[in-house]
């Protein structure tokens, strides 16, 4: 059956995770197996088109009127009923950044949104830093 042999869809964008989001994941998902499974779900973001409310079998919601979005993972891995992967874009670059990881039952507060913006500020300042160019000089 030819219809069952579709070619792979190339990723639309790179997805990177900032260090603080990585630490968040370690706090709410202490088990390595849980983090590995969540990562597999978050990888679907490579094919997400900013603004779409779904990527494959996952829902994506915009957080209020902010420039952040949450990928809703409705699997518990035995700890929480589900997880939210908070993402944002460091414009004008195409890379999608994972800014935080939350459980679905955690309240989304103004302070958290403020913290997400500060994390994006770090991305903007640090993304030009590399071993070859430690001061991010252009």
């Amino acid at each position: 059956m030819k219809e069952l042999q579709h070619a792979e869809i190339p990723p639309r964008q790179d997805v990177r995770i900032c260090l603080s989001a990585f630490r968040d994941a370690h706090v709410i998902l202490p088990r390595l197996s849980g983090r590995a499974r969540l990562r597999r779900q978050a990888l679907k973001l490579q094919w997400w088109n900013v603004g779409d409310s779904q990527v494959f079998d996952l829902e994506v919601h915009r957080i209020g009127e902010t420039s952040f979005w949450e990928l809703l993972v409705e699997e518990g891995y035995g700890i929480a009923p589900g997880y939210r992967v908070i993402v944002g874009k460091a414009e004008p670059y195409d890379t999608l950044w994972i800014i935080s990881i939350m459980t679905v039952d955690e309240p989304m507060t103004d302070a958290l949104i403020e913290i997400f913006q500060m994390r994006l500020n770090i991305v903007l300042e640090r993304m030009h830093v590399s071993r070859n160019n430690p001061f991010g000089l252009t």
């Binding site: 792979e8 603080s20 597999r40 779900q41 409705e74 518990g76 309240p107 913290i115 590399s130």
Partner: protein
């Protein structure tokens, strides 16, 4: 700028939370923190002060305080990835981490094997039932590319998606996904742990292992969470 003049300059700053934190650090730690603060841009310095305020605020929620700390740690530690860039590439980090941690490598291998077996089983069932990707996508309210990616082992389905696919194809979900019995069992254990059920004394006695000699040391019984809540409430 010397250390003392830096801290003097910071003392003049109105943000006491950040200043108190810097002054509470000792020797090299204080020096590293101040150096990092000097190195970063004006925006991040302002952000650091606000983050310390969130950390210090007694009304901050634990999630807010924890994330504020994690952000500060991120701000003051330059940790480029293997390619020398900030942050980590999500797609490559799995392979990189699996090389360093054998337990992750076996987890990745297991996930790969589950996804491969699922793709083979799904393809076979769709072929047997003469169902196209588009038809299946419509039945489970999903996109055709999602089905295509699942068949190409590039999209690990969620549990609820598996249930929808099984229902749409009129098969038992166990026919689609390997190890699902174990997943179900783990879910039940997790649900039991979180349902607030208290074991009775007779149930506890039934589970007690009396074959081993018991210690002569006797501790104080723990206070129940209910009592602690009542006292603090």
């Amino acid at each position: 700028m010397s250390m003392s003049s830096t801290t003097d300059a910071l003392r003049d700053n109105s943000n006491t939370a950040l200043l108190r934190h810097i002054l509470s650090l000792r020797g090299p730690q204080q020096q590293a923190f101040v150096s990092a603060l000097q190195e970063c841009g004006e925006q991040l310095r302002t952000d650091a002060e606000r983050l310390m305020t969130i950390v210090d605020d007694p009304n901050s929620l634990p999630g807010e305080r924890g994330r504020a700390w994690n952000t500060l740690l991120d701000q003051f530690h330059l940790l480029p990835d293997d390619e020398g860039r900030y942050g980590m590439d999500l797609a490559r980090s799995e392979a990189g981490a699996a090389q360093r941690f054998p337990s992750l490598a076996s987890e990745v291998k297991q996930m790969d094997s589950q996804e491969a077996l699922f793709a083979d089983r799904l393809r076979q069932i769709m072929k047997d039932k003469n169902i196209t990707q588009q038809q299946l996508a419509e039945r489970i309210e999903c996109s055709q590319p999602a089905i295509s990616q699942m068949l190409n082992r590039k999209c690990r389905p969620q549990r609820k998606t598996l249930d929808k696919i099984a229902s749409a194809l009129s098969v038992d979900v166990l026919e689609l996904w390997p190890d699902l019995e174990i997943v179900n069992c783990m879910d039940e254990i997790a649900a039991t742990e979180s349902d607030g059920y208290l074991m009775s004394e007779s149930e506890a006695s039934g589970l007690r292992d009396d074959s081993q000699p018991r210690s002569s040391i006797r501790g104080k019984p723990l206070r129940s969470r209910k009592d602690l809540k009542a006292n603090h409430g």
